[in-house]
């Protein structure tokens, strides 16, 4: 099989890249070893967040935000996206100081999307929050969506644009060929001019095959969901002193996440919850929202995320090859970036450069001499 681009990894980033490449007229094949959205894409908490991002990610997140605000035009699906805002809550004075420092820094850099709010306004915005909160930092134009619906919307749009998606196809070898690459995967061989590496937690392995070794690690962020509760919460709540990502879905359920890891293994794709971590998240929720004490938790789950020690992804061209582009290792916060990163990948493939600053995400930024 011949294609212009072989996209390795069919999660949200893979589908976004494929869609954007196909929209620019390229013939694209996606190779996904399980099924679309099986891992990080389908298992995250669905936060669409610019708030508190690493400085290097901010320009990308702001550009992505504009796409999210009209995601229906982009994908033909509303992805259950709602602009409800995201709000980091400080439980202590020290936490509030941190938020203040962040706010100042963002203003210094010329950004105004994050806004300090005082305790009174916070309590008005979030009924039921503990009376002891000190204040918060809010990004009013942020929101939340359904990770699974969004990923599948990208998939559907990609298919409609002529992309071939092969599931159950694990890439075995990559070999340079006359016009780019020969990719051998389960039951299929693809000759492609270009490779895009969106293999998530397995992106390090693919990067290695391409010739760009990276110290990608992984973890399994855990989430839990409650029974349906009458609607009371609009913004997504982010913890400052303690990790928390807490939201109420449109159907009333509460999704509680926040970076506590499950116990598991990436390569057997098995995991189980760590109740010490779930307990810590529950404590945080109970302390911030005392009235939720009697709400039952009905399920926990985890995703498998690729992570780097500096907590930002690899986005950019390969160093070893002029025919490969990377976009992986989103450290648990890649969901919101998917719309823009797909465009940037398409730019990199077609023009060799991106319209937003991505130097910080370079694949060769790591000191691999260990």
């Amino acid at each position: 099989m011949k294609a212009d681009v072989a996209v390795i990894g069919g999660g949200i980033h893979g589908c976004s890249a494929a869609l954007n490449l196909a929209r620019r007229g390229l013939k694209v094949v996606v190779l996904e070893k399980d099924h679309v959205g099986r891992h990080a894409s389908g298992a995250n908490a669905g936060g669409v967040r610019t708030l508190l991002r690493h400085e290097a990610e901010v320009p990308l997140a702001l550009a992505s935000r504009a796409i999210w605000h009209d995601i229906e035009s982009e994908l033909g699906d509303d992805c259950r996206y709602h602009t409800v805002g995201q709000l980091a809550v400080a439980e202590t004075d020290a936490g509030l100081d941190e938020l203040r420092a962040r706010d100042a820094r963002m203003h210094d850099l010329g950004y105004s999307h994050e806004e300090l709010i005082n305790a009174d306004e916070l309590k008005a915005l979030v009924p039921g929050i503990a009376a002891t909160v000190r204040g918060g930092l809010m990004a009013r134009e942020d929101g939340a969506a359904s990770p699974y619906h969004t990923t599948l919307a990208f998939r559907r749009a990609a298919l409609a644009t002529g992309v071939d998606i092969h599931e159950g196809c694990r890439v075995e070898t990559l070999a340079p060929a006359a016009k780019g690459w020969r990719v051998a995967a389960t039951g299929i061989e693809v000759e492609a001019g270009f490779i895009v590496n969106t293999a998530g937690a397995w992106g390090g392995h693919i990067a290695g095959l391409i010739g760009d070794p990276v110290p990608l690690s992984y973890f399994l962020p855990m989430m839990m969901v409650t029974a349906r509760v009458e609607p009371f919460l609009k913004p997504v709540i982010i913890g400052t002193e303690r990790p928390l990502s807490f939201k109420q879905m449109l159907n009333g359920t509460l999704v509680i996440g926040g970076g506590r890891p499950a116990i598991g293994d990436r390569d057997t794709m098995t995991y189980r919850p760590d109740f010490a971590g779930l307990k810590a998240s529950a404590e945080t929720v109970r302390d911030l929202f005392p009235m939720l004490g009697d709400v039952p938790v009905v399920r926990s789950w985890a995703g498998i995320e690729g992570i780097f020690a500096d907590e930002i992804p690899v986005i950019g061209p390969s160093r070893a090859s002029s025919n490969a582009v990377h976009a992986f290792g989103f450290c648990g916060h890649g969901f919101q970036l998917a719309p823009i990163v797909g465009r940037l990948v398409a730019e990199l493939v077609m023009q060799g450069k991106a319209s937003l600053p991505i130097a910080a995400f370079a694949v060769d930024r790591f000191d691999t001499t260990e």
């Binding site: 099924h35 959205g37 389908g42 699974y148 599948l152 992106g203 390090g204 392995h205 990067a207 290695g208 095959l209 010739g211 760009d212 070794p213 990276v214 110290p215 990608l216 690690s217 992984y218 973890f219 962020p221 969901v225 409650t226 029974a227 002193e241 303690r242 990790p243 926040g258 970076g259 506590r260 890891p261 990436r266 098995t270 189980r272 919850p273 760590d274 109740f275 010490a276 971590g277 779930l278 307990k279 810590a280 529950a282 404590e283 929720v285 109970r286 939720l292 004490g293 009697d294 709400v295 039952p296 938790v297 009905v298 399920r299 926990s300 789950w301 992570i307 020690a309 648990g332 260990e370």
Partner: protein, 489 residues
């Protein structure tokens, strides 16, 4: 919050469930000096089959109705009480880890406990019977009506329609009649072909035990009472606006309709597998019993070393087989813990295994005779509710199957089927069957709903107060020391 220290954080043998298998395991453990702690979600020992037996012992009016099979549970429970085990009613287990750790929720709060060995004996539940109208008030399981009789001495006061197939249908019909209830009709859904298929197994089953002879006697009694008994029933629909008003069905080529307000459904029982799945035990689809079962050897040993399974929770066999399985599992644990020499294990288990082989001959006959009709497993009408909690119909599942949804886990994300409070207990098998049938695949291929702990709901407050777990690292999400990919370069 101060947790009253009602027990240590670590136990030698944890037994989950106090039905026949759990009771037998505790008794045997006691005999061999293994310290057992029994966690029971119920309020008193006996599981479902001997439910409320300690109380009913003082209630002759109920005991007379429930029969001798129920009454003999009283002896088991007495021996259980004398066994020296620690018994914890009102304690539900919401998770089991492969190292034998248990998450337990009880009146004093939630706690994580370490156990050297765990015997999971959670028993069975009635197979869900999805039909049009089955979610209406006034529709229950036949076993549910029996539970009401056992634990509260309640009897239907309105004529009952009993619909379904299986040994329990006959038993319950007899009990209802003896209790003075009126049965408007029994709708026997046993497929006609089953009689042919089961016939070859009948002789060895008949010889093997008393059960079959008893069952036939009851059947004759019920029929002699003049109760309308319709055979080969299909296409059942339950009608009503806010509650049951009537039931319609097809039998002998004719459509019929019976006005009623209480419908009892029963199509056999299936193992409760939530805990065995949470523990990471492999499960196989049993095509004869049409359910998922944990993979285990004759002693109940699974591939997960500290954990054994016993009783109907490991595969349907009835009370006697369950008790034997409980004995064997406890013997195996005793041997593992050095309380029983290998030779003694062999000697003691041999007669039990022999008895179980005979019991299984009866079971194979019953499984074959009462194999549910395909329309019970994968309801043909699109309007039939499959996921009661989230209100997902068979039609919606077929729609997502047509979109390429391969199994219940993906269907869950699309439709919310399996995401409600029952965590897939009522819809998991049906969803898999609908998807399998729509995609022309087997149940084993389609797979089962992935169980995600907690397998029983635990509140935010209870989880926040969970005792017995260490502290996770404070502050920002820990930078994990997971394996790195450099080496793959």
């Amino acid at each position: 919050m101060n947790m009253k220290a009602s027990f240590d954080d670590s136990v030698e043998l944890a037994i989950i469930g106090a039905g026949p298998a759990g009771l037998a395991a505790a008794i045997t453990a006691g005999e061999l000096g293994v310290k057992a702690t029994v966690f029971d979600e119920g309020s008193g020992p006996g599981g479902q089959i001997y439910r409320a037996i300690e109380d009913t012992g003082n209630r002759p009016e109920r005991l007379a109705l429930l029969g001798e099979d129920y009454a003999k549970g009283g002896d088991q429970v007495q021996r259980f009480r004398a066994s020296g085990c620690r018994y914890l009613p009102g304690h539900g287990v919401f998770d089991i880890a492969p190292d034998g750790g248990l998450g337990v929720n009880g009146p004093d709060g939630a706690r994580w406990i370490a156990a050297r060995r765990v015997i999971i004996a959670p028993g069975a539940m009635e197979r869900p019977v999805p039909l049009p109208g089955w979610t209406l008030p006034g529709v229950m399981g036949a076993g549910a009506a029996q539970t009401l009789l056992k634990s509260s001495g309640l009897v239907p006061s309105t004529p009952v329609v009993l619909a379904g197939s299986g040994p329990l249908v006959v038993l319950i019909a007899r009990q209802l009649l003896a209790a003075g209830a009126r049965i408007a009709a029994v709708l026997d859904t046993t497929p006609r072909a089953n009689f042919m298929n089961a016939a070859p197994l009948l002789p060895s089953a008949y010889v093997a035990g008393n059960d079959l002879r008893k069952g036939l006697r009851w059947l004759r009694e019920v029929k002699r009472s003049g109760t309308a008994w319709h055979k080969g029933v299909s296409r059942i629909r339950i009608e009503g606006d806010e509650a049951v008003e009537a039931i319609s069905f097809s039998a002998g080529g004719r459509s019929q309709r019976i006005a009623c307000r209480l419908v009892l459904l029963h199509e056999g029982v299936i193992p409760n597998v939530q805990l065995s799945m949470a523990a990471g035990i492999e499960h196989d689809f049993d095509d004869t019993q049409w359910c998922w079962r944990p993979r285990a050897d004759a002693f109940g040993r699974t591939g997960v070393e500290p954990i054994l399974v016993a009783g109907d929770g490991a595969g349907i066999g009835g009370a006697d087989l369950a008790a034997d399985a409980g004995h064997l599992a406890a013997l195996a644990v005793a041997a593992d813990l050095g309380r029983l020499a290998a030779g003694d294990l062999e000697t003691r288990s041999r007669p039990i295994l022999a008895r179980m082989r005979a019991g299984r001959r009866v079971r194979r006959f019953l499984d074959c005779l009462y194999r549910p009709h395909q329309e019970v497993l994968a309801p043909p009408d699109d309007e039939t509710m499959v996921c009661r909690c989230e209100e997902v119909t068979a039609g919606e599942l077929r729609r997502v199957a047509a979109m390429g949804c391969p199994g219940p886990n993906q269907a869950k994300a699309f439709t919310r089927c399996g995401m409600g409070p029952c965590q897939g207990r009522m819809c998991g098998l049906t969803a898999a069957a609908v998807l399998a049938s729509a995609g022309g695949r087997s149940m084993a291929e389609v797979g089962h709903l992935r169980i995600r702990p907690p397998v029983k709901p635990i509140t935010v407050g209870e989880l926040a107060g969970l005792a017995g777990v260490g502290e996770p690292p404070a502050g920002a999400p820990p930078m994990p020391t997971g394996p790195k990919d450099e080496e793959d370069a």
